[in-house]
Amino acid sequence: MQHKQIRVHFINSRRPHYFYSPPFTTTVHRCGAARRPPPFTFHYPHSNFLRGVNMFNLTKLEHTLRLEPHLLTLPLNEAIKGELERLFVDKIIAKLGLCISVYDIESIDGGFIFPNEGAPTYTVKFRLIIFRPFVGEIISARLKESNADGLRLSLGFFEDIYIPELLMPEPSEAEPDPENKGQVKWTWLFNDEKYLIDGVDEIRFRVQNIKFPEIPREQKDPKPFAPMEIIVSS
């Protein structure tokens, strides 16, 4: 594998799972017990180093999937890879992050056909590239829109990055934008100079928190639902 040479330097395979304290808040935990998020401070303590995670991570998953009979003409690897991509790519897995692509397939087991079914079932172990910045990471993104609650930034592939009003650089003030209704122009007062934050500025920000809100039962909000939100400060 061509990447092995680099990964030897960066893999922290000794990190046990339970040292990883998740920075996000959840209303309902799928496994039952609700976990309280640790209090976060602006000083980033050693917990940042213990985790050793990065913006993009590899995650190993195991999944049992049915392979539709019309896919059986393809070579098995390709058919399974196509199915995995259809299932996982560009989707958000709760608590993990946004899945970017399938890195590789480690093993394929099974292939049995259960009674009453026409499609074989495989148990596949594979690795995905997951996008998931850690708390305290610094990322640069473009400004997408701004309103009275704060700014919203986009990375091209991920657009639910919010800077709430409280975390804007101090002091800054908002003025109603004459051109777009409902949008507000933020200006940053620094050393008696005004810096306008608008256009397609590229802003560097630090991640404060990642939320995975629960899937709502009813669509009350006119805004489309975001399964993963990143709250940042600039």
Partner: protein, 128 residues
């Protein structure tokens, strides 16, 4: 679906970019023929704009080797490789306890970064 290992290894931006390139993301301007999904193309576009687009595997291993005297942790090295700070101001938020651990060698570290990843300045200035 079962999560076997949540954190099987951090990837630098360059590694992700390399992976997408090896699947053919770069060669196809029409974006239809390559076996890369449209959402993956967006990731590829984003990564091309960052520092990772001008790096090579050798430069990253070289940087990791040269960083050893500074005693940085792995996540710090990854962050530096990803962001490529070009001045000491940019390094401050990346490394904890900078002054206590490095003291005067901050400038040397910045110079090392600029030396190992040399085309960073031209890339960012030729963009826009």
């Amino acid at each position: 679906m079962k999560i076997l290992k949540e954190n099987a290894g951090p990837l630098t931006n360059f590694e992700v970019l390399d992976f997408l390139r090896s699947r053919g993301a770069a060669k196809d301007p029409t974006r239809v023929l390559a076996s890369v999904a449209p959402s993956e193309f967006k990731v590829y576009d984003y990564l091309e704009h960052t520092a990772a687009s001008s790096q090579t595997k050798e430069s990253i291993t070289e940087f990791a080797a040269k960083c050893k005297p500074y005693k940085l942790t792995k996540s710090e090295i990854i962050n530096i490789v990803n962001i490529r700070p070009s001045s000491s101001v940019e390094i401050y938020p990346l490394i904890e306890n900078l002054e206590a651990r490095l003291e005067e060698s901050v400038e040397e570290l910045v110079e090392l970064v600029l030396q190992v990843f040399p085309s960073s300045e031209e890339q960012s200035k030729s963009d826009e």
